[in-house]
Symmetry: C2
Subunit: 362 residues, 2 copies
């Protein structure tokens, strides 16, 4: 059974998940071949899978049968398990807790041989809607403080399965990286009485647009001033909001457009690199009074897209510094210059019907 | 020219080093071939290099000629430059400073086709002595707050050059990861009035030795309780000391023995994986009064060895959590069980003579 251990110096939490060592994956040395279809995530293979947790599917279809557009399954090799009871204990001077959480796979399409960026915008909107539905559902579990939604695309970005999918992990502690953002945003607000992300949007769209890649009515895509890695970008909602699950129905499509745009730009400009993206949003609750009163005005959810073109090395690991060999302004200029093929696959009739039907949960 | 930028949310510093994009390195997809000897770091190629900054060499030999055992050169593709003037400026709401620092290569041996672990212990001791000499020298530069000494071994650990070498980077700000350790150690001391590392050594050697890998009179090698990655180990001096540069002459050989032991164990048990190691020590100065009074009793220098067997992915990047599929107790058991070949290459006469001669710096 996995457990969560606390580093006694830094206070960093580490998930010790010995069960995952038995998963079918060798020590990576080089990129493996693409897996052939059909795989367990493919349309028509629903009988092989664990039962679906949630799906966006045509209303006249049954759970665990074909006819779905987006489908959520429990991870077969979970790093944290929902069945566990949350228990904390000391081990001499050390601290650990049981590996309680949730680990789910969001299968983005029944089609094995596409990428998320190839899907029509309404289909990508259905993926985003699925993120929101799962996050909102897991928020009801008192044991969880946070749900991180993320995507690993390409072997060197951590993907072991070729079929397009994202993942979510719900954790009983707020992740360190999120805490750092919350603390930083709170400090900025205390000093300025303004949200730091709102200030970034204002500066980058009006004063220094050289790091802006794309914008529509509801979102900006920008290369952050202190980008960690080459071609890192953030998708930030223009309207201030700390909580991704409060996204308006009307904004699914705008976010899908922004996401598709940046994924296609990165793929075209950089020869389809491995990449990760992830959503940073407010945690479910904070262990002190007045939490929502504070966080609602100081934090701002966003989606970070991180291509994997460089290798982490000893300096980065030891210092926490990042070394980025591409200036964010140059990165943004290249990504802006990409001509995105306007003739993306049209939304097929069946697919449009499915979307109209809306989500069907468990 | 490179610059150092501050992330406006987290406060994390990022080195934007566009010059490094021109270095001869493609986007990594698979491990490249080993580079053939002779390379610019090989014995006999001294004429091709930039001038040496420091060397451990026979007393009757001249700078930039053969006869050296360990040799320090400026990095040809520095991420920070020593010639720059330290200037800080705002860019709208953002903050940056010039890329001032030092970036040096420590060539560990004139021999191309060995690893550090293959060298006799007295030779490894000369490498460690070189680390200390360079750190002590750079401490005199008022612009620098920290020197990180690290090693990238193997392509997937960030090495671009095959010839055995380590590196150092001096920075004008204290790295985030080091600050986190300093803050954590200070908090622990405030609460317990004991050094957290001393407590770890006490617990791991006396109470719970299942994570202990190796020890000699002066050092322990242990698998930390909350190891980030499979087979991570720390070498920690038994005697409390915050500052690596204060290492006693007598301890060079003991540290060399511990380092050689763990490098050979990792190589044998894990089929020569890519790895990093790095030294965490106290920064040169802290911008508040009473710094040394505090840090001298709460911080404890150490060397971290980090094999690279897993790929970082979206969850780790987004959360700051690590997922480690190998329990530290199992890792330590495997590393302890390795039979290190007692018949390591003997110290040759010439090499012994060189060591006796001691370091020759500029």
């Amino acid at each position: 059974m996995s457990e969560i251990r606390r580093d006694p110096v830094i206070g960093r939490w580490v998930i010790i998940a010995p069960e995952r060592a038995t998963r079918p994956e060798p020590v990576p040395v080089r990129t493996p071949e693409r897996q052939p279809a059909p795989c367990v995530f493919c349309g028509g293979q629903e009988g092989l899978d664990p039962h679906e947790i949630f799906a966006v599917r045509a209303t006249d279809t049954l759970r665990d049968t074909p006819g779905w557009q987006v489908r959520v399954l429990p991870n077969k090799y979970p790093v944290l398990r929902i069945e566990n009871k949350l228990e904390r204990e000391g081990v001499g001077m050390f601290d650990r807790m049981t590996g309680v959480g949730a680990h789910e796979v969001i299968v983005e399409t029944p089609d094995h041989d596409v990428q998320l960026a190839d899907l029509p915008e309404p289909h990508i909107a259905a993926v985003i809607r699925t993120y929101r539905e799962r996050m909102a559902d897991l928020a009801g579990d008192e044991r969880f403080k946070y749900v991180l939604i993320f995507k690993n695309q390409g072997y060197l970005a951590g993907a072991t399965i070729t079929h397009p999918h994202s993942q979510l992990i719900a954790t009983p502690v707020t992740p360190k990286r999120v805490k750092e953002e919350l603390n930083g945003a709170e400090k900025y607000y205390d000093f300025k009485r303004r949200c730091v992300f709102c200030d970034i949007i204002r500066q980058e769209t009006h004063m220094t647009p050289e790091r802006l890649v794309f914008e529509n009515d509801a979102f900006v895509v920008l290369s952050p001033f202190a980008a960690r890695v080459p071609y890192e970008t953030w998708i930030v909602p223009k309207a201030h909001a700390c909580d991704f699950t409060a996204i308006r129905e009307a904004d699914y499509l705008a976010l899908a457009q922004a996401l598709k745009s940046i994924l296609l730009r990165v793929r075209t400009a950089l020869n389809d690199p491995p990449l990760n993206y992830l959503i940073h949003t407010a945690p479910f609750r904070r262990p002190r009074p007045g939490y929502w009163a504070t966080i609602q005005h100081d934090y701002h959810w966003h989606l970070e897209v991180i291509p994997r073109l460089t290798r982490a090395a000893g300096f980065e690991e030891g210092s926490g510094f990042y070394i980025n060999p591409v200036a964010p302004e140059e990165a943004a200029a290249l990504l802006r210059s990409v001509e995105i093929n306007a003739a993306a696959p049209a939304v097929g009739r069946v697919e449009a019907d499915i979307l109209a039907a809306g989500p069907v949960g468990r």
